[in-house]
């Protein structure tokens, strides 16, 4: 019987962090199943899902990672997911829209958008922001399958755009795949 464990690592970015963590997983006979990592303004973060033997403890994994000889401090969180296998089937709901907002930077924009999504039962799948020349751009992938009609959300977004002083557009995700990718389903 295997158990599934999520490992999250935060650190100032440097070469070799993934190699170090993957090395520990390999050493503990773990099977790395899925991984996501990003670097934001020089700060590295990574989440890994791996399967371990039943007798491998969470504490032991933490100890091994903390024992890595690293010139940057590695902050680690390790937890059992409670699932026993990886669900490789990705969901493809048909109601994925991309919302882009652009305007002058100010505080509270992310909070406002996130709060809007929560109150309209919209799941945020991905959220990316950019700041260039004090112009703030945000790109969200959202799932409207549990929300009201797309038209209703369109109208509500128009109202919010005016309140926040942003130009906000919501378009179905297919558009961006169609324009930028070769294959067309």
């Amino acid at each position: 019987m295997k158990k599934q464990i999520v490992i999250s690592v935060l650190s100032k970015d440097r070469p070799g962090i993934i190699a170090d963590v993957a090395g520990v997983i390999y050493e503990l006979n773990g099977d790395l199943a899925d991984m996501s990592q990003s670097v934001l303004n020089g700060f590295f973060s990574m989440s890994v899902i791996a399967q371990f033997d039943e007798n491998t403890s969470v504490t032991h994994i933490i100890e091994k990672i903390e024992a890595i000889d690293s010139e940057t401090a590695l902050e680690v969180i390790v937890k059992e997911t409670g699932f026993d296998s990886i669900n490789h089937k990705k969901e493809h709901p048909s109601d994925i829209y991309v919302v882009t907002g652009q305007g002058k930077n100010r505080t509270g924009l992310v909070a406002a958008i996130a709060s809007f999504c929560r109150s309209n039962n919209i799941k945020i799948i991905d959220y990316d922001t950019k700041l260039s020349n004090d112009i703030y751009s945000m790109i969200l992938e959202i799932d409207l399958s549990k929300a009201d009609s797309a038209e209703d959300i369109h109208n509500k977004l128009d109202v919010m755009a005016e309140d926040l002083g942003l130009k906000i557009v919501m378009q179905h995700k297919n558009l961006f795949e169609t324009v930028n990718e070769i294959s067309l389903d």
């Binding site: 991309v98 790109i139 919501m170 378009q171 558009l175 169609t178 324009v179």
Partner: protein, 458 residues
């Protein structure tokens, strides 16, 4: 998905005038032909309003879903002369009125296909059709007419050609209170495609299914901005023409994809066959939506200067290459349009004398259509107009391509005057015509110009 890709797609729509220029629903009317014109009109009205009842609403819904403007929703029909076999002039006018009413009912601004295909010969009904055109185009708002008078396979019908010059004059005269606007709704073709979604020359060819959806994409502004960015990022001294052609090709791919997406969705929603995407660069009078501007970016100071034909040849080819890969089925005209009145930069080039009729004709050898939306002096006679059209038809026939002529002899106006039709039809100074009145003996021969030798491939 990369955020850069998302933002560049949004910029194409919001800042560079990317739109789906037209979604055109083709409707076959052959099953509407009855023994009397009144019965026929009833059937036509019922069929169009039945097939296209929710057409505009569906296009608007899909447009909103993707945030891409669908500028025009239009209908093309079986060339009306087929439906009007055995009818007289007054019957054709009645059918045109019915079409106008049906178009209004379903909420579309233009309906194409008040047309005849007479490339080899004409029937008495088709002669009646020609006679009806001045009335039809002056008394209807939404109906557009076109005639195909030549093909590479059949040659050119010179009798029909002579009638075309006269018809252009009569239509312009019948609409002189609108500066001859009626002539902007009449196109003469060689090798007219049966699946072109763009007006005024759209028809629903006899070879097509009962109903079909065709899409015309545009986007000269998108190409122009992409080229400006490329030149700025690489520096004009580090860039070769083949790299520019590649950029046009890749940008066209992206533009065409938008049309493909909208077309597929609308046809799925309406449960009718998706025909083709016509990937034409169709300019509008809006600033930043000009094909002429691309000439200037590519290195001629004015459209019409030496080099213009070569630039257009490359542009037309790169557009086709990018678009063909982007769409399952490409058709229609697919290339670059150079409609003078609809393109502010081309119109300016006419005004400052850079763009002449002769150069425009040369350029049409390598563009996708022909002498389009060209305003000429009102005193140019019918035979001279027929002869200008003859030259344009010959280019299409010999080069195995579509060519067309949409000439507007503006009543009471001459070189130095300026005509404006407003909206998408645009405005331009009157283009000078040289050698007026010297071609009548040629036009008066009539008969047929034989098909060229390379048409005999059986």
């Amino acid at each position: 998905m990369k955020s850069d890709h998302i933002l560049s797609t949004i910029n194409m729509i919001q800042k560079e005038n990317l739109d789906v220029r037209t979604v055109t629903m083709g409707i076959n009317l052959m099953d509407c032909k009855m023994s009397t014109v009144d019965e026929t009109c009833t059937k036509i009205y019922t069929k169009i309003t039945g097939c296209a009842g929710n057409f505009v609403a569906t296009c608007n819904k899909i447009s909103k879903k993707y945030g891409i403007p669908v500028v025009n929703k239009r209908i093309s029909i079986t060339p009306i002369a087929h439906i009007g076999a055995g009818f007289i002039k007054e019957d054709f006018v009645k059918m045109a009125m019915t079409l106008d009413k049906a178009a209004e009912e379903v909420g579309i601004d233009i309906l194409g296909g008040f047309s005849a295909q007479v490339e080899k010969g004409m029937t008495p009904s088709e002669l009646e059709y020609f006679k009806s055109l001045p009335l039809v185009l002056s008394q209807t708002k939404r109906v557009c007419a076109s005639v195909n008078i030549g093909t590479t396979k059949k040659g050119i019908n010179m009798d029909a050609l002579a009638l075309c010059g006269k018809t252009v004059k009569d239509v312009a005269e019948a609409t002189k209170d609108q500066n001859g606007f009626g002539a902007a709704k009449f196109v003469v073709f060689c090798n007219q495609p049966g699946d072109n979604p763009f007006m005024a020359g759209a028809i629903h060819g006899l070879e097509e299914a009962d109903t079909v959806l065709n899409v015309g994409v545009s986007g000269p502004g998108v190409i122009a901005r992409a080229l400006e960015r490329l030149i700025e990022s690489k520096g004009k001294n580090n860039l070769k023409l083949d790299e520019i052609a590649e950029e046009i090709k890749q940008t066209t791919f992206r533009v065409t994809r938008c049309g493909e997406l909208i077309g597929r969705e609308v046809s799925k929603e309406m449960n009718i066959e998706f025909g083709i995407v016509d990937l034409s660069l169709a300019p509008t009078p809006t600033v930043g939506d000009s094909v002429g501007e691309i000439f200037q970016i590519l290195g001629v100071d004015d459209v019409g200067a030496p080099g213009s034909t070569a630039i257009l040849a490359m542009l037309n080819d790169a557009v086709k290459k990018g678009g063909i890969f982007a769409s399952k089925t490409v058709g229609g005209l697919s290339g670059a349009f150079i409609p003078v009145m609809e393109d502010a930069v081309l119109a300016d080039a006419v005004g400052n004398g850079s763009l002449t009729l002769e150069k425009l004709e040369a350029m049409t050898c390598v563009c996708s259509v022909g002498l389009d939306m060209v305003a000429i002096p009102g005193n140019v006679d019918a035979d001279t107009i027929s002869a200008i059209i003859a030259d344009e038809m010959a280019l299409g026939m010999i080069n195995q391509k579509t060519t067309a002529a949409r000439l507007i002899p503006v009543p009471g106006m001459d070189v130095g005057d300026y005509v404006s039709f407003g909206g998408l039809f645009g405005a331009s100074p009157i283009l000078p015509v040289k050698n007026i009145g010297k071609s009548s003996r040629f036009i008066n021969w009539g008969g047929r110009m034989p098909a060229p030798i390379h048409s005999f491939k059986n």
